[in-house]
């Protein structure tokens, strides 16, 4: 019994030794992989500056490996992070030209177009509408970011004063139970703004309260700052001094804990 067990073990050890040795990938591929892991980990931990640096390393490694999709992916993430940091000029520089690059997959180009529309919206640049149109041409059918595209367009319409058009775009996002929570809360925030402009102050107050509830669950201070700023305005229009004071207090508290640039003019 013992002898047969030893035989089996010896055979197993021999077969393990006989299996081909694991080959490690080339150094540049390893570096690319390390940068990707570090960038994703930094994003998850909210270390935005580190995430930017790691995505830059990833982009450089991908360039050296002639990996165009990975390069584009890095540029999309970099643009998102720069937008978050309100570095609009850098974000525009980063995303410019990606949507027209034929070496990149169509989906990445469409996503780049949507990001470019967002950058144009935030920085007050022209061509936002053209970029948005390119993005939606890809996203005609159901795609994961259709709600985001609708919200970006609603934001564009809101900026140009077309309140009814904005409300019409927001409605399907709110009606669709499968819309991501981030997009639903953004839609609610825009709905509150439209209702305020249309002097439906009570409706605006309900919408912004719901948006705040969702954003608190999402844990995004930047969005909460945006929400409380609007809630204070709505409370002012309502003549609700208590709510206005409370919103401003919450806004001040958030701004004290968040970089000053975000709260400039709060």
């Amino acid at each position: 019994m013992m002898r047969s067990l030893l035989m089996v073990l010896s055979l197993a050890a021999l077969s393990a030794c006989a299996s081909p040795p694991a080959t490690s990938p080339p150094p540049l591929v390893q570096q690319q992989q390390r940068s990707l892991s570090a960038a994703l980990a930094a994003e998850q931990a909210g270390r935005w500056q580190t995430a930017i640096e790691e995505w830059q390393y990833y982009q450089q490694a991908s360039q050296l490996l002639d990996d165009w999709s990975a390069q584009a992916r890095a540029r999309l993430s970099l643009t998102t992070l720069l937008l978050r940091g309100q570095e609009y000029a850098s974000a525009y520089q980063q995303i410019q030209g990606v949507r027209g690059d034929t070496l990149i997959t169509e989906e990445l180009r469409a996503q780049a177009a949507l990001l470019e529309a967002r950058v144009a919206l935030a920085a007050g640049l022209p061509d936002g509408e053209t970029a948005w149109l390119q993005a939606t041409q890809f996203c005609q059918q159901r795609c994961a970011w259709r709600a985001a595209a609708a919200n970006v367009r609603a934001r564009q319409l809101l900026q140009s004063g077309d309140h009814a058009g904005a409300l019409a775009l927001i409605a399907p996002v709110l009606a669709d139970a499968e819309s991501p929570a981030a997009e639903r809360s953004h839609a609610l925030r825009m709905r509150a703004e439209v209702l305020l402009r249309q002097t439906d102050v009570a409706g605006a107050a309900i919408a912004i309260a719901e948006a705040i509830r969702m954003d608190r669950q999402l844990g995004e201070p930047l969005w909460l700052i945006d929400d409380y700023r609007l809630q204070a305005e709505i409370a002012g229009a309502q003549g609700d001094a208590v709510l206005e004071r409370e919103s401003r207090r919450r806004l001040d508290s958030l701004c004290r804990a968040y970089p000053a640039k975000t709260c400039a003019g709060a």
Binding site: Q33, L36, S37, L40, Q111, A149, P180, A182, L222
Partner: protein
């Protein structure tokens, strides 16, 4: 087919086996001799002792060094009846001429994670050579935490004292601030008097005789007031000057405290600074080694399957920053 004993290859077989054994034994003896010679096994040695408060890092076999060279080893470490640690060193006798009776035995470490060793240092030429079974003064090594604690212990009282002095200087009801306020008030009063006198003298030419007399009476009053004020100043000045002297004394004490603090800081810096480059170099190597080890471990099954390369997640754009 079995070979017969008469086969020529079996001739002198016993002798051959014996010779091979002797050669192998000789080689082993030579190797042992060589290694023993290299480790100073055959050198004449002198036994010396030291007493340490704590046996941390002290183990038999650790090197004893002089100017960075190995001159002996720790032979024995024992706990004595006073709960201290008796350490016996074996130092090669040829090096004993440099080990003076007033030399210090300092426990040190190779880098951050290296072995401990005892460095013999600090002996003066005037002191005699340490005799057989003589005792060295032991100095335990200061780790980074010890240095930080020492620095903290020395600096905190000085900083507290400095803060107290500055609080005293800045106290609005304290001597220094009151003195300054008094001086300011006196200066403004003297300036007022001076302006009044100037105005009086300027008007003097334009006055009639009666007016001159009246003015002179006024001037006399004014001068009397100035006189009273001067006597007041004369009375208060010693007090003010004492206050000022006390304030200056406090400031000087504060400056002395600050100077002592800076001296301690400089001494600590001088102690720590030479160790910093080595520590950084070691840390760099340590991190590289750790990286290599971690990567090696990651390649071992089952970690290699658990820690598979991160897949590139799909990008999902959002509408809001």
């Amino acid at each position: 087919m079995l070979m017969r004993d008469r086969d020529p290859r079996f001739r002198l077989l016993g002798w051959r086996v014996g010779l091979t054994g002797v050669v192998l034994l000789g080689m082993l003896v030579l190797l042992a001799g060589f290694l023993g010679e290299r480790s100073g096994l055959f050198e004449d040695k002198t036994r010396v002792h030291l007493v340490a408060e704590n046996g941390t890092g002290l183990l038999p076999g650790l090197q004893v060094r002089l100017s960075g060279f190995r001159i002996g080893v720790i032979d024995d470490v024992q706990l004595n009846s006073e709960a201290k640690v008796d350490v016996t060193l074996l130092i090669e006798t040829r090096y004993m001429k440099w080990v003076r009776a007033d030399a210090l035995a300092i426990l040190q470490q190779d880098g951050l994670v290296g072995d401990h060793f005892i460095e013999i240092a600090g002996g003066t030429n005037k002191a005699p050579q340490l005799a057989e079974n003589g005792e060295l003064t032991f100095v335990p090594a200061m780790g980074l935490s010890d240095i930080a604690q020492d620095l903290r212990n020395r600096t905190l009282p000085l900083l507290d004292e400095f803060q107290q002095t500055m609080t005293y200087v800045n106290d609005p009801k304290g001597d220094v601030r009151k003195t300054m306020a008094n001086l300011q008030q006196m200066t403004s009063e003297l300036q007022q008097t001076r302006q009044q006198l100037d105005a009086l003298l300027a008007n003097l030419n334009r006055l009639s005789e009666g007016e001159v007399r009246q003015t002179l009476v006024g001037a006399r009053d004014l001068l009397q007031r100035a006189d009273r004020m001067a006597s007041g100043v004369e009375e208060r000045l010693p007090g003010i000057m004492t206050d000022a002297a006390s304030g200056v004394g406090s400031l000087r004490a504060a400056a002395d405290d600050a100077s002592a603090t800076m001296k301690v800081l400089r001494q600590t810096g001088e102690t720590v600074a030479p160790r910093v480059p080595g520590m950084l170099r070691n840390t760099d190597e340590l991190i590289r080694d750790a990286g290599i080890t971690v990567r090696g471990v990651q390649q071992i099954w089952p970690l290699s399957t658990i820690l598979a390369p991160t897949p590139l997640p799909a990008f999902v754009p959002e509408s809001r920053p």
